[in-house]
């Protein structure tokens, strides 16, 4: 679709890593920003090292600009997700240090009585460091010189890294839920901790369902399969709590942040079903390497992570709690509905392209023809993508304006 003069300078080889980096940045930065806001409120005191927080902000900003410049110039590390040169990986790790210091110095968590969201945030930070460092093991010959080990490192580290940022975001969602409902009990209950530990086990072990066709030892796959199937408990709980969830959603529907949490619930439900299906080896054999895997990734990053991060932003902006935001709230509600409907079509288009590829593979259709036959799904994908972009842009403008208004109100009072 690009004009010829842009094809070289903005080729897919450059635009894809840029897209991936910006998506990851949105997720990380959104989660970090939320933490900086919630930490002093949970601790009931000022943040321990405000200068460190600003250092983190500027450092991350500079590193991101540098990474984008490297990608534009065609300097790559060539690894999935972390496609920038490895030296920037070290800088990213360093930039997180002030957040970790602020987290522990401000909260001084006493884990025995801490609510589940503090466990979730702590686990997210710990595993971000472990998995990010692990993803660079390929720089060592022992890993780089064996494709099976190298591929396993990537799937293992990246799979668990997704789990680590989910822990950060889910922790935030649980905190917001507590604040909206005013009920502290659920986040201290045995059930909440059971699901937290189940989530942690999945973070650590379930990445392996991506490696069924990698020639690693069979026991790696067996363990991953059994752990992946524990997600059935989570799915079962969602279905069990369905009526209650709907009733709660109706009760708090007027709060935009709660509505966003409800949208995320819907996407968790859909993506969990998809995750369980693609974790079954016989199904994975067909779905692996098709757009069905992409649908799972997009459903998770946009349907779940983005909804939860927007819920966090709107909670901070206090939309729905004061009259100056009423009009914005109405518009944001409409745009979010458009976003979710478009996302559903986007998701279905990816599933369609995935099934098309499975069918074409079975019939041994050549790759170019495979792409041609998938064109209708790609068209639907593009059209729904345009709606997603427009709606999300509108939502973000409203969110930023509301944040500015809220800041003014706080300063005035």
């Amino acid at each position: 679709m690009l004009p010829d003069f842009l094809k070289e300078s903005f080729s897919f080889q450059r635009s894809r890593p840029l897209h991936v980096y910006l998506v990851l940045s949105w997720i990380f930065t959104g989660a970090q920003g939320g933490l900086y806001y919630y930490l002093p409120r949970v601790a009931g005191k000022k943040i321990a090292w405000p200068t460190g927080a600003w250092m983190h902000f500027y450092l991350q900003l500079v590193i991101s600009v540098l990474i984008m410049a490297q990608l534009f110039m065609g300097k790559f590390g060539g690894r999935e997700y972390l496609e920038f040169p490895p030296i920037y990986g070290v800088l990213v790790l360093l930039s997180w240090v002030p957040l970790v210091i602020n987290f522990f110095a401000t909260l001084k968590p006493r884990y025995q009585e801490a609510p589940v969201y503090i466990w979730s945030w702590s686990t997210g930070l710990l595993f971000f460091y472990i998995t990010y460092a692990e993803s660079y093991l390929w720089l060592i010959d022992y890993f780089n010189g064996n494709i099976v080990r190298d591929t396993t490192v990537q799937w293992k580290a990246l799979g668990s890294m997704v789990g680590s940022w989910n822990m950060l975001i889910y922790g935030t969602a649980m905190y917001i839920m507590e604040k909206i409902s005013g009920n502290q009990k659920p986040n201290r209950s045995a059930l909440a901790f059971s699901f937290y530990f189940l989530g942690m086990a999945n973070l650590m072990f379930n990445w392996g369902h991506h490696t069924y066709i990698v020639p690693a030892a069979p026991w790696v796959k067996t363990i991953s399969y059994f752990i992946s199937m524990t997600e059935l408990f989570i799915l079962g709980n969602i279905i069990w709590q369905w009526k209650k969830t709907i009733q709660k959603a109706q009760l708090h529907y007027h709060l935009l942040s709660y509505r966003l949490l409800s949208y995320a619930d819907f996407w968790i439900f859909l993506n969990l079903i998809l995750a369980i299906i693609i974790s079954v080896p016989a199904a994975n054999y067909y779905t692996h390497g098709t757009h069905i895997t992409v649908a799972h990734a997009m459903g998770t990053t946009m349907g779940i992570n983005t909804m939860l991060l927007l819920a966090s932003i709107f909670y901070i902006a206090k939309i729905g709690e004061s009259s100056p935001h009423k009009r914005s709230e109405k518009w944001a509600g409409v745009l979010l509905l458009i976003f979710n409907i478009a996302l559903l079509f986007f998701w279905i288009a990816l599933l369609g392209a995935g099934f098309q590829k499975i069918s074409n593979r079975a019939n041994q259709v050549v790759f170019a023809e495979m792409m041609n036959q998938s064109a209708p799904y790609f068209k639907l994908f593009t059209i729904s993508g345009v709606f997603i972009f427009g709606a999300l842009l509108g939502v973000l403008i409203i969110a930023i304006r509301s944040l500015a208004k809220t800041k003014k109100q706080i300063s005035a009072s």
Binding site: F12, G77, V148, K156, F197, P218, I223, P281, T293, V294
Partner: protein
């Protein structure tokens, strides 16, 4: 206290599992006559430098704009001649990267090595899956 025990147990299991995977779970699968020699190593470097993963997958890692390359080398429908032609001239969607003959040889050696390791890829059910 129970929560701390559960966390510690899970974390210890994860650490042990990680070591076990990297020591015994991911042994080399390529036949002894095909090794990750200096040419294949150079090919891997080029593959990463040019970010081939943005369009092509190896073992499912990478983009979807181009075909998966894991077993392309031994695929009778594609094979080394077609792959070499794409590397030399580009294609409808693939840019011409103006690779030198040496670079193309290295990339081909790397993809030959990857293909040789892909035992379970060619017949996943033989591996129990």
């Amino acid at each position: 206290m129970l929560k701390i025990y559960v966390f510690s147990t899970l974390f210890a299991a994860y650490s042990f599992y990680t070591v076990l995977i990297y020591l015994t779970g991911t042994k080399e699968t390529a036949p002894t006559n095909i090794s990750f020699d200096s040419k294949a190593q150079e090919g891997k470097k080029i593959y990463q430098q040019y970010n081939c993963a943005s369009c092509h997958q190896l073992y499912g890692l990478g983009g979807y704009l181009g075909p998966e390359l894991t077993t392309d080398y031994s695929n009778p429908e594609r094979g080394p001649l077609l792959m070499r032609a794409f590397l030399e001239n580009g294609g409808q969607r693939m840019p011409n990267f103006h690779f030198s003959k040496e670079q193309i040889d290295c990339i081909m050696s790397y993809l030959r090595y990857v293909d040789a390791t892909a035992v379970s890829y060619k017949n996943p059910y033989r591996n129990g899956y």
